[in-house]
């Protein structure tokens, strides 16, 4: 404790990041075990030592849920890991998940001032260290919750729904989460492969929600089994949160799109991750290719490529119409994919998928692209190079070029949608239906896990206001308050509370 009093400067901290241990590329392409190992205690202490503990931190606003990053890192330095966990879980329920899947380079680690001189503090890996330790030791931050009698329905058990469920349960509500699949977790379960996010981590995080009293109802397709309007009406929910995700994958819209060797990354990942098709004792079949082309360069595309590699594809190619600089995937995922022998074809776009005569794929016709003027997204628009058409041999095409809004809620309810079919919400995440809130990909279109969680928490905040519940985001910190904070011998936090003596 005492040596932390000495102020750290950029000159006194360790220059290099703690080493991160990974499975060797040659080894890991033959298994689905996690690629990146977590920090050991000594690694975590080294990395925590690199944090300058800025009094006015820039990393915290970079985090979509504003984790108090310097405070949890200081707790790690004090070897108070439980304390670090408690700090993180004040705002983020799923540290073991977010530490693994957040694009930290664009969020907390992006603005980190250490990054101006050296590599930024590996905040994500520290978060994962704390989250994994919590799972290992069975820590939970289950507060005492006074039931308030309100009933909350959550549609979708992905990150947005889970975050909202946790906040509402902590506020004392009776929370039910509905999931259409037979297992909860949403994109964490069907989308993100085991080697990035093991199932045990998802199970552990869901178990924590259950400890808060959240109930999960699987095999329930909201909209069709009952509508959103029915939830508010006859099913007696006081408020509803919709976090159904984007789903509905886009296809290329080129000739040959519906050949049997063409599938969406969502389908490949769902079959492999959730339906466990890679395991012969499960019944779901899996399309295999020996020369696979994956179209797109986002995180889903990287996951699809690395899954194909592990399923035994001899060659896996990434075909992307822009360059590496514009690729939306996390830097670490592109790096890992390269290590695993994925071949990248930047500035290339398919114009036709070629039939093998039996309904399958024998290749694609592609064109080369060049970057022109910036488009609406600020990225330079790719334009085809005249006369650059060429054939590209492959026997499986996986399409990972994004998703559209899932239509089910819109088909079955009067809720207001925007032009593109996503649910329209106001600044408080409220939809056009009273008491119904929405957040995550079904509002914004495809985004990240932590952004969805941020939206779920923001919606929970508004739902609490709607139900006139005290906002439990204001954390009451235990321990004796400093003398200055006491007025007439009373804790300042208790001011304005009338003391009533019971008879």
């Amino acid at each position: 404790m005492a040596d932390r009093k000495k102020k750290k400067t950029i000159r006194t901290i360790p220059r290099d990041r703690a080493p991160v241990r990974e499975q060797a590329p040659g080894e890991r392409v033959r298994n689905f075990a996690e690629v990146t190992h977590g920090f050991r205690v000594e690694d975590a202490l080294h990395e925590a030592d690199r944090c300058l503990l800025c009094p006015d931190p820039v990393c915290v606003p970079g985090c979509p849920v504003n984790i108090d990053i310097p405070r949890f890192i200081a707790k790690i330095s004090d070897k108070d890991y439980r304390g670090a966990y408690d700090v993180i879980t004040e705002t983020n329920l799923l540290p073991a998940v977010c530490g693994r899947v957040c694009p930290q380079e664009n969020q907390c680690e992006g603005p980190c001032v250490v990054g101006d001189s050296y590599a930024p503090v590996a905040i994500g890996r520290l978060e994962r260290f704390v989250g994994d330790m919590a799972i290992e030791k069975g820590w939970t931050s289950v507060p005492y919750v006074e039931p308030n009698g309100f009933k909350i329905g959550i549609v979708g058990s992905g990150p947005a729904g889970m975050a909202c469920a946790a906040d509402m349960a902590k506020a004392g509500c009776d929370v039910v989460v509905y999931e259409a699949f037979h297992v909860p977790g949403g994109v964490l379960r069907y989308g993100i492969p085991d080697f990035r996010l093991p199932n045990e981590v998802i199970d552990a995080e869901i178990d924590k929600l259950k400890m808060l009293g959240v109930r999960f109802e699987c095999n329930t397709l909201v909209g069709r089994l009952f509508t959103i309007e029915q939830m508010i009406g006859e099913l007696g929910f006081d408020a509803v949160f919709i976090g159904t995700g984007a789903g509905y994958p886009s296809f290329l819209g080129v000739p040959g799109d519906s050949l049997n060797g063409v599938l969406s990354a969502n389908e490949l990942l769902t079959r492999c991750n959730m339906m466990r098709a890679k395991d012969a004792s499960y019944d779901t079949p899996l399309p295999l290719g020996s020369r696979v082309a994956v179209i797109g360069a986002g995180n889903t595309a990287m996951d699809a490529m690395r899954v194909c590699r592990r399923l035994g594809a001899e060659q896996v190619h990434c075909v992307y119409r822009r360059t590496r600089n514009e690729a939306p995937a996390r830097a670490e995922e592109v790096h890992h994919a390269e290590e695993e022998g994925i071949e990248f074809h930047w500035l290339t776009a398919p114009v036709e998928i070629l039939d093998d005569g039996k309904g399958g794929v024998r290749g694609m016709r592609c064109v080369r692209m060049e970057l022109g003027e910036p488009d609406a997204s600020g990225r330079r628009r790719p334009v085809p190079v005249a006369g650059s058409e060429h054939e590209f041999a492959c026997d499986l095409v996986v399409v990972a070029i994004g998703t559209n809004a899932n239509p089910i809620i819109g088909q079955t309810s009067k809720i207001k949608l925007d032009r593109r079919g996503y649910i329209e919400v106001d600044d408080d995440m409220a939809t056009s239906l009273i008491g119904v809130y929405a957040g995550g990909d079904i509002v914004t279109g495809a985004a990240t896990v932590i952004e969805a969680m941020g939206a779920g928490r923001k919606a929970a905040h508004s739902m609490k206001a709607y139900l006139c519940l005290r906002d439990t985001d204001a954390v009451y910190r235990s321990g004796p308050p400093p003398a200055a904070a006491r007025l007439f011998g009373m804790d300042a936090a208790e001011r304005n509370f009338a003391r009533i003596r019971s008879a």
């Binding site: 259409a180 037979h182 909860p184 999960f216 397709l221 339906m275 239509p407």
Partner: protein, 302 residues
């Protein structure tokens, strides 16, 4: 693996075998029975390691709180269900109702055509049309007389029932298009034909009605995984558009569906399906073989 439904699942109330291939399961699910509408389907998993298969809801009983599925044992999963599903056992997962319900109102005279396995799912549509005030003619096709089922159920809700059998042992000889042709010949004022059955049969029905310009609706049942529009495995070509049968359908305009594309896509996993069936059949033979008393018999999955 996470198992939320280990002790619950969905109870099978009755089982009824129509033939050595086709059997009926009635499943207790009061909410689903209340929500189901003609034309919708469910996704079922028989056990935790099973695949998700789409099955059209053949009937529902809101007072009893049950839904009825009619299953044809053609592959590993359905043959395994035929072997293991009994009244009192449970299916691991049943999710639904999925898909857009069929449009039943505003029709004066309709022909409902069901061929083979399509006979069961056409029944709620025929009943629904009748309830909506239409004159309903049912055309149902089977291979032979002893495979005919639900004739009485159709007779109770339709104005005319035309049974077709391939061998002529009952009703009209020939497949359902013969019966459909007969019905169109008798009635010049048909508003709509609804056809459910194998793709070849639906295609033939669409071709039969096209010269007469009768609106023809077909119900497509391609390979699906989630049934919620998330994977795109069930995409079908309708006109020049790609549609997902699970959320945009399953009903589409039969004159615009690309049946050739659908039939190719249905064979997508033909090799895998064949291999899985062979492996499973072999394991059943081993399990059925009388075991020598000394050897411990492998535990069979309940």
């Amino acid at each position: 693996m996470f198992d939320p439904m280990a002790s619950t699942g969905f109870e099978i109330v009755t089982r009824d075998d129509f033939s050595d291939l086709t059997f009926l399961l009635e499943i207790r699910h009061p909410m689903l029975a209340k929500a189901a509408k003609p034309g919708q389907f469910v996704i079922a998993m028989s056990h935790e390691r099973g695949e998700r298969i789409p099955l059209t809801i053949a009937d529902y009983d809101r007072t009893k709180g049950t839904i009825t599925l009619v299953i044809q044992a053609v592959g590993k999963t359905t043959k395994e269900m035929q072997r293991n599903c009994r009244a009192g056992t449970r299916l691991f997962a049943v999710t639904g109702p999925m898909g857009e319900p069929s449009r039943l109102s505003g029709r004066k005279k309709v022909i409902c055509v069901g061929g083979g396995l399509g006979v069961a799912p056409i029944y709620p549509q025929a009943r629904g049309f009748k309830e909506a005030g239409a004159h309903v003619i049912a055309v149902i096709g089977f291979r032979a007389k002893d495979l005919v089922f639900w004739h009485d159920k159709f007779a109770a809700c339709c104005d005319e029932v035309i049974v077709c059998t391939d061998d002529g042992s009952a009703g009209v000889k020939g497949n359902v298009t013969a019966g459909l042709g007969l019905a169109i010949g008798r009635h010049k004022d048909v508003d709509e034909v609804v056809a459910i059955g194998p793709p070849v049969m639906m295609k033939a029905c669409a071709e039969t009605t096209k010269p007469h310009g009768i609106k023809t609706t077909v119900s497509l049942n391609p390979i699906m995984v989630d049934g919620t529009g998330m994977c795109g495995g069930c995409r079908v070509k309708v006109g020049n558009e790609i549609k997902f049968a699970c959320v945009d359908g399953p009903d589409f305009d039969g004159h615009r569906v690309d049946f050739g594309d659908l039939m190719v896509r249905l064979k997508r996993f033909a090799a895998e399906e064949k291999a899985a069936l062979e492996r499973w059949s072999e394991s059943c033979r081993m399990a059925d073989r009388p075991q020598p008393p000394a050897a411990a018999s492998p535990p069979e999955r309940p």
